[in-house]
């Protein structure tokens, strides 16, 4: 079975380590904060100028001055700090964030990522995504393995305008956890009950499949 959005978030959460500063993109990545493992503390960075983002506020806590990068009302935890956008991206560009999780439209075997524009259809802008992929060493891309119409999103070469070149090493889809190296996709884990053949069929870029591909532990 393909992973649900919540299961994707659960699998990503297993990559968290105690003391990590983490930037979570809009969508599935945001859900990761609900599954931080017991005994581990992480601090969330929101690129609009907040380190130490907390959960959504209860009604009476709502504050127009306290939002996340998705423009949603949020809270700040004890130990948080607020700062300017220049300072926020100094953190990001300077490689101080330990883990970045973000979505994508396409990823290819060279580690390229396309996530911000579909020419002629969707022109919203890259926001902070280009800075995030350029500044982070440790990135996990989360996305569905294929489009609604069954078109692969793991490609030999991205077709959409790139968000970043040669910067992605790990992709978690609803079907598989994949590493990118030496110009190939390497299958690390498969979603529970999903066969290697299914994954292979929906992967357009070259996929290296080891003898044993364990199921994900969620």
């Amino acid at each position: 079975m393909a992973l649900s959005r919540e299961q994707l978030a659960m699998r990503v959460a297993k990559e968290l380590k105690d003391g990590y500063y983490v930037n979570l993109g809009i969508g599935i990545p945001t859900l990761v904060s609900n599954y931080v493992p017991e005994g581990i503390e992480v601090m969330l960075q929101s690129e609009n100028g907040l380190l130490g983002m907390g959960p959504f506020p209860v009604e009476r806590e709502i504050d127009a001055d306290l939002i996340n990068a998705g423009k949603q009302t949020v809270t700040a935890i004890k130990g948080a700090s607020f700062f300017s956008s220049a300072d926020s991206f100094a953190m990001i560009r300077g490689g101080h964030v330990d883990l970045t999780v973000l979505g994508a439209f396409e990823v290819d075997v060279h580690g390229n990522i396309a996530s911000y524009m579909i020419p002629g259809k969707l022109i919203k802008g890259m926001g902070g995504a280009m800075d995030l992929v350029a500044g982070a060493d440790n990135i996990i891309v989360t996305m569905t393995h294929a489009s609604k119409h069954g078109e692969p999103k793991l490609l030999p070469q991205c077709t959409l305008p790139l968000t970043g070149a040669a910067c992605i090493k790990r992709v978690l889809t609803d079907l598989a956890f994949i590493e990118i190296k030496d110009g190939k996709f390497h299958l690390l884990e498969r979603a529970p009950g999903v066969s290697v053949e299914e994954i292979q069929k929906l992967t357009a870029g070259e996929l290296v499949v080891p003898d044993n591909v364990p199921e994900m532990d969620l």
Partner: protein, 234 residues
Amino acid sequence: MSGFNKVVSSYADAMDGLQDGMTVLAGGFGLCGIQENLINEIKRLGVKNLTVVSNNCGVTDFGLGILLESKQIKKMISSYVGENQTFMDQLLADELEVELTPQGTLAEKMRAGGAGIPGFYTATGVGTEVGNGKEVKEFNGRDYILEEAITGDFAIVKAWKGDHFGNLVYRQTAQNFNPMAATAGKITVAEVEELVEPGELDPNFIHTPGIYVNRVIQGEFEKRIEFRTVTEEA
């Protein structure tokens, strides 16, 4: 009256000198920390062909979006312009130019503009359309592109508290792009929630020193929320 009293009493005075074709830098992120009444004044003035540098462009009927609606903006330099259908429509109809700029690069370009740094190198955008036509240089085995500073004829910023010297402090994530915009305008106008007595702001914790600010005005704010997300009370 001292040359350091920068308080103006009307929005007309606050935006005096703004003309067709000028470049305006605006702080704010989405609808958070925006200069609600200064933007209204720009609309009232009716100046045209503005280049507006701002991370976003408000929504259709609030924030910078109202200047799109009135077709006063010729060009936007922004990182993200979703959440605004007018924007999309004008862009697709070729009525609007847009220069999409990565958020961190945009913040740094404004900071550079204020800091006398004409250009800097960043890895952001290397190998993408953002890097097209830009100089590439290698440092320690990695490629970086040259990005140039941005300055404006006017900068409009929104602060939480300010004093008559132009010292400003921002509140929480309403800070965002405001401090950098403040440094990079030939004329910088600050709209504050609360005008405080001189000496009331702790000099250790001033976000924007008064040297950057030319005019200060106290405003009333609606503070509209774009996405109201809540947790159920336990």
